[in-house]
Amino acid sequence: MAANSSPLTDDKIAQLTKKAAEIRISIIESLIEAKSGHTAGPLGMADIFTYLYFHKLKHDPKNLDWQYRDRLVLSNGHICPVLYATMAHAGYFLVSELKTLRKFGSRLQGHPHREFLPGLENSSGPLGSGLSQIVGMALADRIDNGKSSGKQFFCLMSDGELDEGNSWEGAMLAGKERLQNITAIIDRNNIQIDGFTEDVMPLNPLVDKWRAWNWHVQEINGHDFREVDRAICEAQSVFDRPSVIIAHTIPSKGIPEFERKFEWHGKPPGTPEEIETALKALRSWGGRVKSPDHNS
């Protein structure tokens, strides 16, 4: 069970950096094996998932029904390779199972299906519904435990799915109900299938939109563990409204040749050259990132 109030020390950051690098390798290996799936989003969100599962979340991989666990809903289900890889490294199941991603009979369905994989809080895939589900969870918890149950409710979502009206319906209700234990984290990587978000359907001014629905809004670098930690701690200290963290991320982060290119939204490395490029980049990650962990 992870503690959720311990300080983020330099040592811990070094551990998280190393873990995120391992998780990125697991993501890309599982995608190569699957021969289909999404590359950009999972790699872009690897640091935030690592931070949550290895530092912040109150959870217990060996006691899935533990009622006091924090709840984490993945709204944009297509980035599930990062969820699966992080859960495997956190001890929910063996890392070797990641090789079954998207295969017949696998618990690791192409989009998350909670009836297949215990430990998932929700099934997802169709976009725009996760925020409302976390709102429902927080409302139910408030009915049972009042405003100070100690549980935190996280919704991880994409910028592209903010095109869906359902997202804003959920945002309005959370603002109305002042659900202060909700933290939504938006993967602001600026890409979606058809191109850059601001070309397909402009979202800016995104900060103003969320403020207008009575949310506490922060913008961070989603690859900087210190910024992630500071923002989430601040979100949890806000007691009169829900919080949203707009996490600026680099799609395909870790493979320089793929970074920031929307073409990598929905496909895995396929040609021998692409596979070599991806694996080489990720396996040399420890040498490229600025990390206090010199042993990695």
Partner: protein
Amino acid sequence: MPINPDQKLNHKLFDKTAEQVTMRQGFGDGLVLSGTADKNVVALCADLTESVFMRSFKDKYSERFIEVGVAEQNLVTVASGMAAMKKIPFIGSYAVFSPGRNWEQIRTTVCLNDVPVKVIGFHTGVSVGPDGASHQALEDMALMRVLPNMIVISPCDSIEARKAVVAAAKNGKPTYIRLSREKTTVITSDHTPFEIGKASIVFQPKLRSVKVDVGIIATGSFLFKALNVAKQLESEGKKVIVMNLATIKPLDEHAVISLAQSAGAIITVEEHQIAGGMGSAVAECLAKNHPVPIEFVGMKDHFGQSGTSDELIEYYEMGEKHIYAAVHKAILRKR
């Protein structure tokens, strides 16, 4: 009168003094009963609290009532989240909006998740009347019965609606209940048996050994029309069985097959598109197990329009004379 005594139907059923009550009232009563019996029952509404009779629940259990505004996609997805936290959410709106507008969210966040959200569709059928086609849900049973894990119930009156709500609160499954808008004749009584998944014979020849001419399977408020037609046919010497098929899914296959075996011809009666509705469910079952001639009374691939309930039901050929004609057609088709 060949009413099945075991069903303990309203003894005033065929009197002019028979009570007329809305199914919505039955829903509202059932919701309060369920909320009193189980503190996990919650209700969510999309700006229609009075119309969908959630007012009593809201007044009594305000902390368990959520108003989401005019947002049916949010209505069901929030309910899904609450159900994941052990709540038993009832969501109410007009059926064209829920389960119409929010069908995909019901599919993914309720049925794929297999959480016990109760979707209550109000204002079904052309009997909604003056509001016109946009507000007359005629497709809802089709939308719901194709979803794995979903239970589909279409009560015949206010009392059965109340019992369906109470039973749904306890069944642990995604459940859809469709209701009419207008007051309808109270067919059943407090003592009429009700069980999800069980069809009931409400009208049958007094002599059980007699050869049956036809079986009528009805669902929803149109059961009353089927009973009136059966009464007339009986007076003309025809032997008729009428089944109340309140649960469309899971279908009581045993009862439907037995009826087809004894009657040799079936008429289905519903206030829904023929395509995909209760009749389709019956036809799928009988085509596989015991094919017999079937006539379908229902909406024939049209949208409705404004008018009174009676005008519209007649215009779209779902009235008693149309059921009567369908019976004779089916009997002629018997070998």
